[in-house]
């Protein structure tokens, strides 16, 4: 009889052990990295040859009046990486802010929770940039029209990097919705855990992935 209980106890223990060993959980910060890209259906990306890009990454939280712990130490490296990726796809950066480029590439980031992707007015954040001169036609307003559904960020330990390519020559369906149209966007999101070099490496990988999964951006 005693051996009966031992046998049943052992089997029950094994079953609980199996049940307790839950499969496949996230076990590294890199596994939380997510790359989402959006594009306007029917956009003629090949019509664009040059791009302008402000030389700073805007901290959306600070620009919106909130606190932020965004680390700007690697802004230059990140912007350079974006420039290289675009150049690899055939674009040329226009650094002269008095010259009107075909598209404008804006880069921003955020580290706080419960923020809505691009539902805020864009212009005040980049208002300081001299490159707006060529676009200061009557069309420049307080925002741009985004032809895709907004994305929400939800976790305070996460960071998000936003890249938006705007074509100021293409008007939105409703002129009250802005002065141009975003024809491509990328969101890179993940947990901000690990050393700076590790995080930068992950950002670089995600940037490469953003362009890799957007082959339609390439121009001959």
């Amino acid at each position: 009889m005693l051996r009966n209980y031992v046998l049943w106890g052992a089997l029950f223990g094994c079953s609980l052990g199996v049940a307790a060993c839950y499969p496949g959980e996230i076990d590294s910060a890199a596994q939380t990295d997510l790359v989402i890209t959006f594009h306007q259906e029917g956009a003629d990306f090949q019509a664009n040859q040059t791009f302008s890009m402000p030389d700073s990454i805007v901290d959306v939280s600070v620009a919106a009046g909130a606190d932020s712990t965004l680390n700007h130490a690697h802004d230059a490296e990140i912007l350079l990486r974006i420039q290289q990726e675009l150049e690899d796809m055939g674009y040329t950066r226009e650094v002269d802010t008095t010259v009107r480029a075909d598209v404008v590439v804006l880069v921003s980031a955020i580290t706080v929770e419960n923020n809505v992707y691009y539902t805020y007015p864009w212009y005040p954040y980049w208002g300081w940039w001299g490159g707006w001169g060529p676009y200061s036609s009557p069309g420049v307003g307080s925002n741009y029209y985004y032809p895709w559904y907004p994305v929400y960020t939800t976790n305070f330990t996460s960071g998000s990097l936003f890249i938006t390519m705007i074509d100021p020559d293409v008007p939105p369906p409703d002129t009250s919705q802005g002065a141009g149209i975003a024809i491509w966007g990328a969101v890179i999101n993940g947990m901000l855990e690990g050393s700076d070099p590790e995080i930068l490496a992950r950002i670089n990988n995600s940037l490469s992935q953003a362009f890799l999964q957007s082959p339609y951006l390439a121009i001959p």
């Binding site: 199996v18 499969p23 496949g24 996230i26 989402i36 992935q209």
Partner: protein, 199 residues
Amino acid sequence: MRIWTLAAVALLLPGLASAQGERSSWFGLNWSLASPTANSKEFTSDFSLRGMGLEWRQLRGRNSYGLSLGWNAMNEETLETSSLPQVDLTGFQFRYINAYSVLLAGHTYLGTAGSARPFLGIKAGTYYINRRVDVGLWTATDNNWHFGVAPELGFTVPLRQSYGSEAFYTAVRYNYALAAGDTPYQSWFAIDIGIATRR
């Protein structure tokens, strides 16, 4: 669905009828492995080693009826790019199906008492199925109650003499849970390996 229901009733009836005579209770505890098929395999393709079940059967002669509780956890980890209109998304995806079942069961036994006995059975009842996708820092999940049936076949082997009332048993069961809510039908093979006692 009607065919499955009729089949379940037809196969459960002999077991229910057996309640008329001398009774003997049978309790089983098993480790349940799972191999998803069809829609479930599209969602989580990996063979699962995680699951368990509890069974009670009321025996009479060559037949039995009873109740079966089960759990199977299936999962898949993948790094892939998913494309939707205007949107492409790349990230690690952790996909899970947790299927909990509460099933009535009917079995009929072949062979003779005291030796290895094959059995055929049908189970029918409800499945509570939770499907979840973790991607990046987001989670998408759905939960539904499904009606389902599960034909099975297996065999029992009495343990050595000192455990006269215990038996090793194993069974292969095809679980078919009908579509519910926005979730299409789910199906998987389960392999149960367990021990049973008869009182």
